[in-house]
């Protein structure tokens, strides 16, 4: 169920123009320490490419 929710949310956020790469979903098992690090590296690279978030961000 969670995955269905995330699948639709990701599509929807992308649709309204929030870059899809800002919301990332994945699965990492307890034995995948290496994968965890790679996911963080990958996510960081993707988000870095997009630059700082500006949309939907509440200014204080």
């Amino acid at each position: 169920m969670a995955r269905r929710k995330f699948a639709t949310l990701k599509r929807f956020l992308n649709y309204i123009g929030l870059e899809g790469d800002r919301t990332i979903f994945t699965w990492i098992s307890a034995s995948e320490g290496e994968r965890f690090a790679n996911v963080i590296k990958g996510v960081t690279a993707k988000v870095r490419a997009l630059g700082p978030a500006a949309k939907l961000v509440k200014k204080l």
Binding site: M1, K5, S29, A30, S31, E32, G33, E34, R35
Partner: protein
């Protein structure tokens, strides 16, 4: 019989794989104390090594870890690692178990599992966990999630080098440190025991090298020169190593003689904080080192440098001060607190031959002293030196250097007996020195009182003397004269003891040496100690050092008023690590030690040895075999801030009393090397299946990348060879290992998922997919993954030279020979009895069966030959994980059945203080930031984080701890909670997964509700992963703590819900499983209600007559039924159906309809044992021809000696009728065994009977394989068919004809048969769906019940309080059902034994005002824990069933459901604080 009141309410579980763990948990959760005994350092068994598990491909570590943690934290399970059971005395109910505890060398109470010790450990050994595909350190943890999480050190004993060295330096240790480039550490390690590495690195007689095991391979390690290498580095270093000096003790010690013994003694005493003064009669310090050993061997400047360190340590050396002459000995005794005499042997021994007083005769000691003190001494051109020791060598080589032309040795024995170091002799010969052997001087010949020659006699070698050398015997009349200008006798030295007045009373031995205690070096006069040559006569430097060191210990003890001798005698030869087989060690030549060339050195005193370069030294050090495994380099001791390392830990004996024992030692993987034709160990790309499992694992040696060992490349063609070490009488393993077909399929699938291009082929004999959902898995492997299955066993493997590819030769089913090339081969190795099976069986007093597995009872596969000792898992025969888990629970049930009345007598429950009243206090948060030694503090600026915490809202207290998990910190934390009135506690340290429970306990003990606690993970997820970014890591730590503090202010104190438990059980179904469960429950003391819809109990078991193994099932069943009848605790309703089941775990109310009307009863749990049915087939003329019957009917004919069977000459059986077809793609598991059973019975009736079995795969798994073998031996015929080429059965009058394609003949065959028996499979009970609905439990796609987890919870449902057994679960054999029934009882007992069930604290709750009762939560909840109350129009949570997963909360649009401990408010607050 032991009386109930005398029984011990504890059980010992031997072996801690998944079987041991499951048994322990079941027992501990039902009120018994458990000792979980493991020979290894941690629990987990083979399952921890597996990557995934079939058929669901769940991650093995993921499903095992929670179990490990649970058993590790269980208050009633005591894990005893490194234990061996030696004997079990007594009887069921009260056993006395004797065990040996092997040392772990690390104190588990102190070890925090940080791994700093492993980081500094220089020893690399193959990792057992990774099956030798990677290395680990000598100090290690088997795998990251291991329990106990603490480390252990592997030691095989003392390495021979260390034992042989008189000073017992950790030789292996410094060699290992050199190998890893840690030169300073190496030097420090040497200096711990010997302050003279510069000297001993040059002139030692190195007994270590003599002992070195490498010597058995080719040559010993050049240990001495490795020592010189690090000593020279230190010498050249700007800051030389000087040991830390302890605080001054204000006591004075005098040392007589500045030789190696005296200076060593001074060195160690100075380091201890004593004021030491050394008195030396010569103008130089060093004793024999300075005036005996020539410059070219030990340059004076390096010696001075070595001694300077001793002076820098504070030792005062007074030169030219002769005791007895300049200062009276009595003065020393008076003015100093202790005296050590180490003045050596200064007088030369005389030859005692005529003419020894002539000019030109100069004794070795005197000669060397004069030269060494700088005197120019020329002895003439021709010089004879008498003697074969090192002094003789020194003298003769010095003589060459002082200008004599013709210099030679006279020695009365042969070269082999020369006591001088071999390299000395070698170097002397290189320098042109001649040696006259077997020549003894008789008389000095001279003119005018001046030497002109020496008369010698020839000797020959006689019998060995006391020293072991052959005694020289004079040959009469063989005198001859050797002309010479000078004669240097160098045959020994003697001590000069005259400086000590007789009145002092110091005892002197008959050899004119001081007579002191050999261990303490204490003389008979208090405060006077002596050591070195003055005690032993002329000996080696290293022995003098040893004496000095030991005397220093004695003096220290003496001055502290302690027992000088206690505990000091140690037999170094006792635990010698010299047993290793070195025959297979690869030969590597010893490094050649660089020397000056003879022509370069012959005429001067330049040092002969040049010393190793760094490269040479490291290479030489790497030759070390690490005999002891741990090198005792003590790096771990320094690295361990928690001070957990105990290098002198020892073996201990333990005795424990228990009421029952469960043996679960698991299995041994077959040694693939025994199947030589497959080249394992020879060809790099041939690996075992367990190695491949590690290759696949994300935490394995290659992080889950599938690669070849030879070149690291990803393989394309991968072959699995099945039955390696199984079904193979050639290696003595006739059994089937039961699991290999499935794990090979799994490994092939996972391999393909990891490496997309992989093309796996599985070579097999029969595919044995006899478990639940296994055939489906194999079908998926074939259809979805394209995995190729080849029915053939390769005969040989050959490696191709260039590519390292492997050429497999195999014969196809039709007889054709194929050669096929593969990139990599996996050998599917079988399961064997554990290596220690015999010893363990002896200790436990149980019998083994013929193959070495545990012998078990036919009526109950967990019973051994000894009452009160049970078995589970692969020790009782090879089996898969779920069967193992079932057996474990089953064994637990049997053990607790004996001890039912003693529940709760040995378990502990903690008394907790009342919770403090927090009303009106608001969030007062205390933050504890952990350094974790240097694990956090070394990266994160902890004090800065603490200061930051103090600025956060609601924080009233913040501090740092070295180890927050230590016992003293726990106490401190409790005090702070009380003093500061804390209402929230935040710990910033490691992972809540491992430590939350511990810290919560601390809170609880201080009266704070455990749910007012929060953690920030600043180690595992911060300092360890950002080691090179301290600034960022510090900022991240602050953020993480801020988030935790922010969340903490919203935490609420929680009180887990409680529910009363009804202690009765309803059992649905009265077949074998049902009645077994009822009887087992009665043993436990619990009532049960059996609801059976048939008019009689017994189910399918009624139709059986015997089992394959030979059990008389009729007798067995009638015995069981009698017991059921006799039991007051069992209420059996026959011809009854269930009308309604209300309630949930602990509180069920069920209404049944019986022939006498409705009945209602209450119960706490439900066991579903609804059974299955024989498949009713119309195939193969069944129902049409009277000659076509089912296997069950055939059994009846055989048992009742019916003519139809007795007179049938030919009987044919067809397997898989109705099983393994698209409509029912599962195997019915028992049919092959049933066919084998009936075939053997028929052959028993008449061996001439023609019995044919038509099959698809023969699945006589485990030890049943022997019966298949027997059937083949008895000439039962086997013809295989494929699913798409089924046999045809034709009735022609009174005869049946079978038409079938025979794949071996590669042709169709037809034969007649008198009787045809069909092996029809099992279909699920059609009522399963209905029962499932009533109990809110699911069935699988085949209609059998679906367990909570196919591997680890095979008898549980996801819904608590409901269990299953027997054919409800899947088709199975009768003994499987018995095991599973007992297992279900064991699981049920974890509830029934309690008066209350406690819920999780962190459960969901409903805000009624918001709930619109839409029911989405109910549909989403995996545990049936939340449901809509229709009357209230609102959802309700059953907190006992709720597992706190929170799925309901996120599915609720209204936010009407929230989760305690993870409320929306708490989670959002964290998000706001990122």
């Amino acid at each position: 019989m032991i009386k109930d009141s005398e029984k011990i309410g504890a059980v010992m579980v031997v072996g801690s794989g998944i079987a041991g763990i499951q048994a322990s948990l079941d027992l501990a959760n039902s009120g018994l104390k458990v000792y979980l005994v493991e020979k290894d350092i941690s629990i987990g068994g083979v399952m921890a090594q597996l990557d995934k598990t079939f058929p669901t491909n769940d991650c093995s570590a993921c499903i095992l870890s929670p179990k490990l943690v649970e058993v590790g934290r269980h208050p009633n399970v005591e894990i005893l690692t490194r234990r061996t059971v030696e004997s079990v005395e007594g009887e069921a109910g009260k056993f006395k178990v004797r065990m040996t505890k092997a040392p772990r060398f690390i104190d588990l109470d102190k070890c925090t599992g940080c791994g700093d010790c492993a980081k500094v450990c220089p020893i690399n050994v193959p990792s057992e966990f990774n099956e030798g595909l990677s290395e680990r350190q000598a100090t290690y943890r088997k795998f990251p999630q291991a329990i106990p999480s603490g480390f252990a050190i592997d030691k095989l004993g003392t390495s021979p080098c260390k034992a042989a060295c008189p000073t017992h330096i950790s030789v292996q240790g410094y060699v290992a440190l050199i190998a890893t480039g840690k030169y300073k550490e190496a030097l420090k390690l040497i200096k711990k025991d010997n302050p003279f590495p510069i000297v001993c690195g040059r002139v030692c007689n190195h007994p270590c090298e003599t002992a070195c095991m490498r010597g058995k391979v080719e040559e010993p390690i050049d240990i001495m020169h490795l020592k010189r290498f690090v000593a020279d580095l230190d010498l050249k270093d700007e800051t030389r190593y000087i040991p830390e000096k302890k605080e001054s003790k204000g006591k004075k010690i005098a040392v007589v003689g500045a030789g190696p013994a005296g200076l060593t003694c001074a060195y160690f005493l100075a380091a201890e904080g004593y004021d030491v003064e050394v008195f030396e009669s010569l103008p130089v310090a060093g004793g024999w080192l300075a005036v005996g050993i020539p410059e070219y061997r030990l340059p004076k400047d390096v010696l001075r440098a070595e001694i300077k360190v001793i002076e820098d340590l504070g030792v005062k050396i007074h030169l030219n001060k002769a005791i007895g002459k300049d200062i009276p000995f009595e003065k020393l005794q008076k003015e100093y607190d202790a005296v050590f005499i180490g003045c050596g042997t200064v007088n030369s021994s005389k030859l005692n031959i005529p003419g020894e007083d002539m000019q030109g005769v100069i004794h070795g000691v005197d000669y060397l002293k004069r030269v060494n003190l700088g005197e120019k001494v020329f002895l003439g051109d021709k010089v004879a030196v008498v003697g074969g020791g090192n002094v003789a060598m020194d003298a003769v080589r010095t003589a060459v250097r002082t200008g004599s032309k013709d210099v030679f040795i006279l020695y009365r024995r042969s070269r082999a007996e020369m006591p001088a170091a071999p390299e000395e002799i070698e170097e002397a010969l290189e320098e042109g020195i001649k040696m006259e052997f077997l020549a003894a001087p008789k008389r000095v010949v001279g003119e005018n009182g001046k030497v002109t020659g020496v008369e010698c006699t020839r000797m020959e070698l006689g019998e060995p003397d006391a020293s072991g050398r052959r005694r020289p015997v004079e040959i009469k009349g063989s005198e001859f004269i050797v002309p010479c200008d000078a004669l240097i006798p160098a045959i020994g030295q003697e001590a000069d003891l005259d400086f000590v007045p007789k009145e002092s009373g110091i005892a002197i031995s008959k050899w004119k040496n001081f007579d002191v205690d050999p261990v303490t070096f204490a003389s008979n006069v208090p405060g006077v100690f002596a050591g070195g040559d003055v005690v032993t006569g002329p000996q080696t430097v290293v022995k003098a050092v040893y004496a000095g060191k030991e005397a220093a210990v004695s003096i220290d003890r003496y001055l502290k008023g302690e027992d000088v001798k206690a505990g000091r005698e140690k037999d170094w030869t006792k635990d010698l690590a010299d047993k290793a087989d070195v025959s297979k060690v690869e030969k590597v030549a010893r490094a050649k030690y660089p020397h000056l060339k003879p022509e370069m050195r012959r005429t001067n005193f330049q040092e002969v040895g040049v010393g190793f370069s760094e490269e040479e030294a490291v290479a030489e050090a790497k030759r070390c075999l690490a005999c002891g495994i741990c090198s005792e380099c003590y790096q771990c001791v320094d690295a361990c801030i928690a001070k957990a390392v105990i290098h002198d830990d020892t073996f201990e004996e333990e005795i424990i009393e228990v009421g029952a024992v469960i043996a679960a030692p698991g299995f041994e993987v077959f040694d693939a090397g025994l199947r030589g034709e497959y080249g394992f160990g020879l060809y790099k790309n041939v690996v075992t299946s367990i190695q491949f499992e590690r290759i696949l694992s994300a935490s394995g040696p290659y992080f889950g990348h599938v690669q070849r060992i030879s070149d690291g490349k990803e393989p394309k063609k991968l072959a699995f060879i099945q039955c390696v070490g199984s079904r193979d009488t050639s290696c003595g393993n006739s059994w089937c290992s039961s699991v290999c077909c499935m794990y090979a399929t799994k490994e092939a699938i996972i391999g393909k998922e990891h490496a997309k291009g992989l093309e796996p082929t599985i070579f097999f004999m029969d595919i044995r997919a006899h478990g639940k959902d296994f055939d489906r898995f194999v079908n998926r492997a074939k259809d979805e993954y394209g995995i190729r299955y080849v029915r053939s066993m390769p005969s040989t493997i050959k490696e191709l030279q260039q590519s390292k590819n492997l050429l497999l030769k195999y014969v196809q089913e039709d007889g054709s020979l194929i050669e096929e090339e593969f990139d990599m081969v996996v050998l599917s190795v079988g399961l064997c009895p554990p290596k220690e099976a015999g010893k363990l069986a002896g200790a436990l007093g149980i019998d083994l069966e013929e193959h070495g597995f545990c012998k078990t009872a036919m009526e109950n596969p967990v019973e051994t030959s000894r009452d009160g000792v049970f078995v589970c898992g692969a020790f009782g025969g090879p089996k898969d994980i779920p069967e193992t888990v079932m057996e474990a629970s089953s064994a637990a049930a049997c053990a607790s059945g004996i001890l039912a009345t003693r529940r709760g007598t040995m378990t502990k429950e903690e008394d907790l203080p009342l919770e403090s009243d927090l009303r009106g206090l608001g969030p007062r948060t205390g933050v504890f930031v952990c350094h974790c030694g240097i694990n956090i503090g070394g990266v994160v600026n902890v004090p800065e984080v603490v200061e930051y915490c103090k600025t956060l809202p609601n924080v009233v207290f913040a501090t740092d701890n070295l180890f927050t998990c230590s016992q003293d910190t726990a106490v401190k934390m409790g005090e702070v909670i009380k003093e500061q009135n804390l209402t929230r506690v935040v710990v910033a340290s490691c992972s809540p997964r491992t430590h939350e429970g511990l810290f919560q306990e601390n809170c609880e003990k201080a009266g704070l509700n455990r749910y007012l606690f929060e953690m920030a993970n600043i180690r595992d997820q911060n300092s360890w992963v950002h080691m090179h970014e301290p600034l960022e890591a510090t900022e991240k730590a602050k953020d993480l703590v801020r988030m935790a503090v922010a969340k903490a202010q919203f935490l609420k104190p929680l009180k887990p819900g409680q529910l009363t438990v009804n202690h009765a059980t309803m059992i649905i179904g009265g077949g074998l499983a049902g009645i077994t469960a009822a009887l087992s429950l009665a043993d436990q003391g619990y009532e049960s209600y059996i609801v059976e819809k048939e008019p009689v109990l017994g189910g399918n078991y009624r139709h059986l007559y015997f089992t394959l193994e030979g059990l008389d099932t009729r007798k067995h069943l009638s015995g069981l039924l009698e017991k059921v009848k006799a039991s007051k605790l069992i209420h059996a309703y026959t011809a009854a159906t269930i009308k309604k089941i209300e309630g949930f775990i602990g509180n069920y109310k069920t209404t049944i309809a019986t022939k006498d009307g409705d009945e209602q009863f209450e119960h706490g749990v439900v066991i579903v044992a609804a059974g299955g049915y024989e498949f009713d087939t119309k195939e193969y003329l069944h129902g049409q021809s009277s000659q076509v019957i089912t296997q069950r009917e055939l059994e009846k004919l055989i048992a009742e000696k019916d003519d139809r069977a007795a007179k049938a000459n030919s009987i044919t059986m067809i397997q898989c009728v109705g099983s393994r077809i698209p409509e029912r793609p599962y195997c019915s598991r028992y049919c092959c065994s049933e066919a084998m059973k009936n075939a053997l019975k028929l052959k028993e009736m008449d061996p001439a009977k023609d019995v044919t079995i038509i099959y698809r795969d023969i699945r006589t798994f485990g030890l049943k394989e022997d019966f298949y073998k027997k059937a083949r031996e008895l000439n039962v015929k086997f013809i295989r068919y494929d699913e798409d080429r089924k046999p045809e059965v034709i009735q022609e009058g009174g005869k049946l004809s079978i038409r079938i394609f025979d794949p071996i003949m590669n042709a169709p065959v037809e034969f007649k048969t008198d009787l045809l028996a069909l092996s029809v499979g099992t279909v699920p009970n059609p009522e399963n769906a209905e029962i499932g609905q009533m109990l809110k439990v699911p069935t699988n796609q085949d209609g059998f019940f679906l367990e909570a987890h196919v591997k680890l919870r095979p008898v549980d449902f996801a819904t608590d309080g409901v269990f299953m057994c027997g054919m409800s679960h899947a088709p199975k054999l009768s003994d499987d059902s018995i095991v599973q029934a007992n297992a279900a009882v064991s699981r049920a007992c974890t509830i029934l034994t309690k008066d209350f069930i406690e819920a999780e604290g962190k459960t969901a709750y409903v805000n009624k005002e918001r709930c619109a009762a839409c029911g989405l939560c109910e549909e989403n909840c995996p545990f049936s824990a939340i449901s809509v109350n229709i009357a209230e129009a609102c959802a309700e949570v059953n907190t006992v069933l709720c597992k706190g997963c929170g799925v309901c909360t996120a599915s609720c649009r209204m936010n009407a459901v929230d989760l305690n401990g993870f409320t929306n408010e708490e989670e959002l607050e964290q998000i706001y604080n990122i």
